[in-house]
Symmetry: C2
């Protein structure tokens, strides 16, 4: 069945993806609070209860959006890291952070759902797993720096926490900054911030 030829097919064809798409649009437009299943269904041209054939409840659709976001983030981080010489440890850490912030900046709706929607990750194992996979990249990267002698092993744990916290905080400030004028007074030299933090944890 070709979904392009039929205008009013009883079955949608790919409702699941369409609903995820609609969710992203709505979150981008009205924030995670403003999103409603009913409206997502309307946007997909489908009845308000059709969503339950694909998602158990509202949380589940948000969890799926978050999961896709984590997967994409993982891909972005891997792509960046693959393009850097493997022995330039500090640069790898800085670029990892930059890629994280860049992801948040270019996929704000995803990022908001991933972190700002109060999702109970415990109840959505595949979402949690995707999140942990992304985090693991940072952990591995720090381990690589330790193995290469760029970072004392005793500081590894602190380094992970510090880097993670900083990039996460930078991403939030970046997103908020889009809305708030006051914050634009602060120049957001994100590379400089990350250089400073990497320098701080490596020395």
């Amino acid at each position: 069945m070709n979904p392009l030829s039929k205008k009013k097919a009883y079955h949608h064809g790919d409702l699941r993806s369409a609903l995820v798409q609609a969710t992203l649009q709505l979150v981008a437009l009205r924030g995670p609070r403003g999103f409603s299943m009913t409206e997502a269904c309307r946007q997909a041209g489908v009845s308000a209860t059709a969503v339950y054939r694909h998602f158990a409840n509202k949380e589940a659709i948000l969890a799926e959006v978050a999961r896709q976001g984590f997967d994409q983030l993982t891909g972005d981080l891997r792509l960046v890291l693959d393009s850097i010489e493997s022995d330039n440890y500090r640069r790898r850490l800085v670029e990892t952070g930059l890629a994280y912030v860049a992801f948040a900046s270019s996929h704000p709706a995803h990022f908001q759902v991933m972190f700002g929607a109060g999702l109970d990750k415990e109840g959505h194992p595949e979402c949690q797993e995707s999140g942990e996979t992304a985090l693991q990249i940072l952990i591995d990267e720090v381990a690589r720096a330790v193995a290469g002698g760029a970072l004392p092993a005793t500081k590894a744990s602190t380094a992970i926490t510090t880097l993670w916290a900083t990039v996460h905080g930078l991403a939030m400030l970046d997103l908020d900054g889009i809305k708030s004028k006051k914050q634009e007074m602060l120049e957001f030299d994100i590379p400089a911030c990350l250089e400073a933090v990497v320098h701080g944890i490596c020395s």
Copy 2:
């Protein structure tokens, strides 16, 4: 009129505070998503629409909670800074960060509403103002470090952004960590993180 003596007074006596209290309890219990005005009113022993005599809408009550949170945070930060010698610049920066994380940890509901509820601060000037007052403490502290020669003036802006992002990220990780077991594998040596960051931005 003594509110303790009357069991069924038609007027509540201090409904506004009671509603704010109830909001905090509900957010602590069910997260910012789970909070409902109706339930807050129930908890305050009052009809579902009584809230509109005190708050324009749902956003407004959350904005008030956030405002009180920012004010308390400002007080906490000032208290800590007042207790430290004025020329120990790095220690002041570290302690400021610690106080920020401590606030988030001991007032999780406030913190979630302040940052994790998708509040439109533009629409609530007094909330926004309280938030900026808290931020200003950090800005002033960095300025003090610059004036004291502990930090080159060219790095002031980067220092503010980095510190803010890091403490904010640490606070989020700390809150998430309460729920997620996986993250507890990472030791959260927050003082060490802040020492590293302060060292990084000051040198």
